[in-house]
Every structure is written in structure tokens, then in C-alpha cells.
């Protein structure tokens, strides 16, 4: 049977969605992937103050992994990332469950929990620094109340300073995670909950066995947001400790910034950026995989 050729208008209709999508694709291709490629090249180059294109092979990577600060940065990221994501999830979920108990002032409380997300650490950095400073902050205030032996000097303590970063980071994002979980909780069919209650499930069992397993999508999106924030966290560290005491709270983001822009060792900075990108990819790609496979029913 002869199939008449589709008209120009029909072809246009066919192409239109792709045309609409193409500016985005072009922008992303250049300004995300192109730049990643550029950085990759820089990481193999002798760039110092500004990009330069002399090829030096893996020198920058070798140098990078010999640097103790990089070691510290990686270790800190592991500690920070684990605690930050873990605590945010647990706290966010707990708060969401508590808030889901038909609380009277829910709107107000939710806003209070959520607002830190609105503030950058350029804004709250000084307040946090003061609050954590034993001389003027929490320690001195509590001691002023009469609890003389109270100590809270983590920010001055090389071994503990990274945990103060966790405290502030959790402060900023746990409300957002709470909102994500709350949305997940509200999305659960209430009939299932009634059914479980009729079955005699205790409140605890109800959440553990029925509710939390259904929050998997919320967990996933919270995890992705948290993971990329953990790896990208820069403002926070700069505002609170600027990497100190010593280099105790250096993280890859501050390391990369400092080598690229302050120390004029752009090649090493680019190498560290590559490692960060690989880490991000290792976290994100499996997520994207699972996310995007599903729609192909």
C-alpha cells in the first residue's frame, strides 16, 4: 500500500517537542558537559594562575594525593557526609512524624523548621560562629546560668570541629527534609493506615512496618538533595571555620576553591574537582538509573 509522504506540517509537529527541548539541551551540553570536559583537560595541564594547556599527564593527580590537606578533606567529607545525611534523614523523618499527629500550630512550626533553608551562610555565618564560640556563645551562656562545668568548645577542638559543621548544616536542611517526608506521609492512603489499625498494629509498628517503607521515594529525593549539598558544601565551612582550626575542617569544596583561585595551582584544583565530580556521579548515577528505568513500562 502506498503511504503518502507526511506533510511538512505533520513533520513540523513531530519535530516541535525536540525543538522546544533543544535550547536546554544545548545549554546543558555546553555549560555543564563542556565545562566538565574543560575541567578534565585542565586537570591534566600545567595551569596555574589562569588556564594553560601544557599537557602534564597525571602529575596533578599524583600531587593531589600526596597532599595531607586533601587526605583530611576527603576524610572530613566522609565523616560530614555520613553524619549530615544520616542525622538529617532521622531528624527530618522524626519531626515529620511528630508534626503529622494533628498538631495545633502545625503551620507555624513547619515554617519555623523550614525557614533556615531560606538563609545562606553568608547571612547566618557570624551568628553561628558566635553561638559556637565558647567565649561568647553557648558555653559562656550556660556557665552564666550557673552550670560552671559546662563545656562546649568543639569549634576550637581539632578533633571535634567537623561536628560543629554538621550541627549547622543539619540546622539548615533538616527542615527541608522534614517537609519532604511530611509530603510523603500526607500522600499515603489513609485507608491503609485505618486497615492496619483495625488489624491491631501499634502506632510504632504502624510507622515501622507500613508507613516508613512507603516513604521510599521521599527518602530517595531527600538523599539526592542532601548528598549533593554535602559534596558541594562550601559557604558553610568558610563561614564557620574557614577550614580551621589548622586544616582540621578542610573539605573538598574548600580545597578545590583554594587551590584553583587562591593558591594559583589550577591544575591541582581541577584534579580535585574531577574527584568531586566522580564522587557525585557515583552517588547520583545509580539514583538516576533507578529513577529513569521505571517509566519504561
Amino acid at each position: 500500500m502506498a503511504r503518502s509522504a507526511p506533510s511538512a506540517a505533520a513533520r513540523m509537529r513531530e519535530l516541535l517537542p525536540r525543538i522546544v527541548l533543544s535550547p536546554t539541551i544545548a545549554l546543558i551540553a555546553i555549560f555543564v558537559y563542556g565545562f566538565i570536559f574543560f575541567t578534565t583537560y585542565l586537570s591534566f595541564s600545567d595551569s596555574r594562575m589562569l588556564p594553560s594547556f601544557g599537557w602534564v599527564g597525571f602529575d596533578n593527580y599524583v600531587k593531589l594525593f600526596q597532599l595531607r590537606t586533601w587526605d583530611i578533606a576527603i576524610t572530613n567529607l566522609a565523616i560530614f557526609g555520613t553524619l549530615y545525611i544520616g542525622i538529617c534523614c532521622v531528624l527530618g523523618l522524626s519531626l515529620a512524624i511528630l508534626l503529622d499527629q494533628k498538631i495545633r500550630a502545625e503551620g507555624f512550626i513547619r515554617t519555623v523548621y523550614l525557614y533556615p533553608m531560606a538563609l545562606s551562610f553568608i547571612v547566618t555565618g557570624v551568628a553561628w560562629k558566635w553561638f559556637l564560640d565558647p567565649g561568647i556563645g553557648l558555653e559562656s551562656v550556660v556557665q552564666g546560668w550557673g552550670w560552671e562545668s559546662f563545656e562546649f568548645n568543639w569549634i576550637k577542638d581539632r578533633d571535634m570541629a567537623i561536628y560543629t559543621i554538621v550541627i549547622a548544616a543539619v540546622w539548615q536542611t533538616s527542615g527541608f527534609v522534614m517537609a519532604t517526608f511530611l509530603a510523603g506521609l500526607r500522600g499515603i492512603d489513609s485507608e491503609i493506615l485505618h486497615a492496619a489499625e483495625v488489624d491491631g498494629a501499634s502506632k510504632f509498628a504502624l510507622y515501622r512496618r507500613i508507613v516508613i517503607p512507603q516513604l521510599r521515594p521521599a527518602f530517595l529525593s531527600a538523599f539526592v538533595v542532601l548528598a549533593h549539598m554535602a559534596i558541594k558544601s562550601y559557604d558553610l565551612v568558610v563561614a564557620l571555620t574557614n577550614g580551621g582550626p589548622g586544616t582540621a575542617t578542610e573539605v573538598p569544596a574548600t580545597f578545590m576553591y583554594s587551590y584553583t583561585f587562591t593558591r594559583n595551582q589550577m591544575g591541582v584544583g581541577a584534579a580535585s574537582a574531577e574527584i568531586m565530580l566522580l564522587t557525585i556521579a557515583a552517588v547520583i548515577v545509580p539514583y538516576l538509573w533507578s529513577e529513569l528505568r521505571e517509566p519504561k513500562r
Partner: protein, 417 residues
């Protein structure tokens, strides 16, 4: 009003005579003097330029002692849209000049006779390849020791002139329950102290060899071990809360008697004056122990970037205005530093300023006018920060001096590569 018109006319006439394009463009200045007195002092420059028909486009980016401004500068240069002038420290001037990003001010320099009035050590940074590429705005001296006079008087102490004396004085104070040294644990502050100790213990030649020339033997020498020993000793004279503290909070400790001394540059004077105290009287200023006769300097330059021809005249105007004695005097009176030209009268400066102006002449004479490592006049950014790493790490941990010296050598070697 009439006068202003006249002067503007004359200025443009002068430009026409000079054969330059009469169109006076604006100058865009990237700097990190963003707040308080220093920013207001810069306004003097702006006003001055506006009388010459040159507009001022202000591009302040503060943070990390110019680190944020450096990032901005790189972005601006990379985008092919550099500012007319940018505030830079000495080493940064040299690094940008090496990248070929800077313009040429020689014409203005010759007209103004700058070569005769600017100290040689500064000229080394302001000139590259025989051309003037930047103009110095001020000379800071980081190697000051600030002393709370009342505390010393009460305890019958005299200002220490060597590190040994310092240790004795400090121990006495510590025994009496007074924090001897106010200090803020930030890398640049640690390095400021380190500078003083290297210079005080090793002397000017050692400082030049170890810091400025990054000589491996000097860096690995016993003298360097002694320097780190002294750093360890100093650690004992600092209160427990020092880490991360801003320098001005440390100064405040000296001002309100919580601590007796601080090793800090002359910008601390601003805090002293604001607390209604008199530098040189209530708060004594002496050279850091063992550095009397030497002068570490820290100069802010306005580097001229390679801009289009239209802007070049305005750029020259800016440079000339910066170098004018009246601006140098007015600005540095506010800033706490001393003028970058030697022919400004010390009359209006306070006791500490006058001492600095006297000391710098002496130091230049005996070859001990040296660039400060902590403030970007000792080493390239890479090496400088590598040394910061070791100094800070050592100061904040229980690393042995021997280990620190080894680390220092490795760090400098790897960063210099």
C-alpha cells in the same frame, strides 16, 4: 561652582595638549576596602578624580583578605573584561604581570617622577620588565607588637626586644593569670606571627634566604627548627579560645585588658582609636621582638590592567592621583599605614606612624626592608599558602619542630613545581 568648571576645563585642555584622546573615560576599580574608614578614605580618591572629569566605578568584593576579589579578578580577566585597576598585593602584581595581563603606566610615572620617591623594595613589585604596571597606595608594617601599657606598668615590665625577653615577660604575665598574647587562629594571623619569629630569630638575611628565595638549606636549617620551637612556646602564651578568632577581636582583648600583647599589623590602630585610646601611649607600638631596625612591608597596589585605548588616559589619571602626596597622606592617615612615597611629611601622623616612617628609611638603608610572607610580598601564592599550611598545622597540633621543618621543605618544593 565656577572654580570647578574652570578646573574641569583646564584638565581637559591639559589632556588635549598631551595629545591624548580628550574623552575622559571612567575607571573601574576592583578592591576589597569595603567598610568603615578605609572605604571612606578611598572616597577621597574618587572625589579627586571626579574633579579631573574621571568617573569612578566602584567594584568592591570583600572576603578573606582579598581572596574573593582575586577570584572575581580571574573571572573578569578570563571574560576579557578586566577592571581598569585592581587592588593587589605585591606578589599578585608580579604574577599578573607574568601572565601579561597588566598595562603600562610608565608615561605617568615619568611625568610624576615616581622613581625618586618610591622605596626600591616597592619598585621591585610595581615595575615589571622595566615598566610601571602598578602604583603603591600605602605601606603597612605587619611586624608590630602592640602592648597594653597599663598592664605592663602595673607589672613593672618593659617591652621585649628579643624573643627571649618576650618569653620571660610572657611567662611573668601568664603566672599572674593574664593572657600574654592575644591571637586569632587563622592561617594569615599564624603566618604574621611566623614572619616575626623568622625575622626576629634568623635576622634579615635568613628571612631573605628562607622566605623570599625559598632556599632549601635555609628552610631545613637549625635556625628554622628554633623558629618552630618559638612558635610552640608562643602557643603556650595564647588563650584556649584563639582558634578562628578575627584579628579585631584579638585586638579588643588587648584594649580591654584581657590580654597584654598582640603581634599585628598597623591596621590595628583603627580599633585602638575607635576605643578612644591613643596609639603609642595607651597601647604601645614597638617592633616585634628582634626585628627592630628591620621592616616587613605589606603594600596595597593598584595594578593597571590592560584595557582598551579609550580607558588608558583615565587609568593614567587614576595612577597619578594615587601617587599624589595629598592623597597618600590623607588615605594613610585613615588607614593606619604610612605613605608609599618617602617625601610626605610625617607631621600629621601619630607616634607609631612617625616611628614607622623613621624605621623604613633605616631599614631601606641597611637592606632589611623585606616583603611580608603573610601578606603576599614574600612568595608566590602557591608557595605562600603551602607555608601557611605547615605553620598553621604545626601551631594547632603537637607536631614537633623537626617534623615541621621537614614538612615545610616538602610543601615548598611541591608547591614551587
Amino acid at each position: 561652582m565656577k572654580y570647578k568648571m574652570m578646573s574641569r576645563l583646564m584638565a581637559s585642555a591639559a589632556l588635549v595638549c598631551a595629545g591624548a584622546s580628550a574623552q575622559a573615560a571612567d575607571v573601574e576599580v576592583l578592591h576589597w576596602w569595603t567598610a568603615g574608614g578605609e572605604a571612606a578614605a578611598l572616597n577621597v580618591l574618587k572625589e579627586d578624580l571626579s574633579t579631573k572629569g574621571v568617573g569612578w566605578e566602584d567594584m568592591p568584593v570583600a572576603g578573606g583578605g582579598g581572596e574573593a576579589a582575586q577570584t572575581t579578578l580571574k573571572a573578569r580577566v578570563a571574560s576579557g573584561n578586566p577592571p581598569t585597576a585592581a587592588q593587589l598585593l605585591g606578589m599578585q602584581v608580579r604574577e599578573w604581570a607574568q601572565e601579561g595581563a597588566l598595562g603600562d603606566l610608565t608615561q605617568a610615572a615619568e611625568a610624576g617622577g615616581w622613581a625618586d620617591v618610591v622605596p626600591g623594595a616597592l619598585k621591585d613589585f610595581a615595575m615589571y620588565d622595566g615598566k610601571w604596571v602598578a602604583v603603591p597606595v600605602n605601606i603597612h608594617r605587619p611586624n608590630w607588637l602592640w602592648i597594653n601599657a597599663a598592664i605592663f606598668e602595673e607589672n613593672g615590665l618593659t617591652p621585649p626586644t628579643t624573643w627571649e625577653e618576650f618569653n620571660t615577660v610572657a611567662q611573668t604575665l601568664k603566672d599572674k593569670g593574664i593572657t600574654p598574647l592575644a591571637h586569632g587562629g587563622q592561617p594569615w594571623q599564624d603566618a604574621t606571627v611566623f614572619d616575626d619569629v623568622v625575622l626576629g630569630i634568623g635576622g634579615a638575611d635568613f628571612y631573605r634566604k628562607a622566605i623570599i628565595e625559598a632556599d632549601m638549606d635555609a628552610l631545613g636549617s637549625d635556625t628554622m627548627v628554633q623558629v618552630f620551637d618559638q612558635m610552640r612556646t608562643l602557643r603556650g602564651f595564647v588563650d584556649d579560645n584563639f582558634s578562628g578568632r578575627d584579628w579585631n577581636l584579638a585586638t579588643a582583648m588587648v584594649l580591654n585588658g584581657e590580654a597584654a600583647m598582640q603581634l599585628m599589623g598597623d591596621w590595628a590602630k583603627g580599633e585602638i582609636i575607635r576605643a578612644d585610646m591613643v596609639p603609642g601611649e595607651d597601647i604601645l607600638c614597638v617592633a616585634a621582638p628582634g626585628t627592630e631596625g628591620s621592616y616587613l612591608f605589606n603594600t596595597d597596589f593598584f595594578a593597571a590592567f590592560d584595557v582598551s585605548d579609550d580607558n588608558r588616559d583615565a587609568q593614567m589619571e587614576l595612577a597619578s592621583a594615587v601617587m599624589s602626596p595629598s592623597f597618600q597622606e590623607a588615605f594613610n592617615l585613615v588607614k593606619g599605614s604610612i605613605p608609599a612615597r618617602t617625601d610626605v611629611s610625617p607631621e600629621k601622623f601619630d607616634a607609631c606612624g612617625q616611628k614607622a616612617m623613621k624605621d623604613i628609611v633605616e631599614a631601606e638603608g641597611n637592606g632589611s626592608l623585606l616583603g611580608s610572607l603573610a601578606h603576599g610580598h614574600g612568595q608566590t601564592s602557591a608557595v605562600q599558602r603551602a607555608i601557611f599550611d605547615v605553620v598553621t598545622e604545626h601551631f594547632n597540633s603537637d607536631m614537633s619542630s623537626q617534623d615541621a621543618v621537614e614538612e615545610l621543605q616538602i610543601a615548598v618544593e611541591s608547591a614551587a613545581m
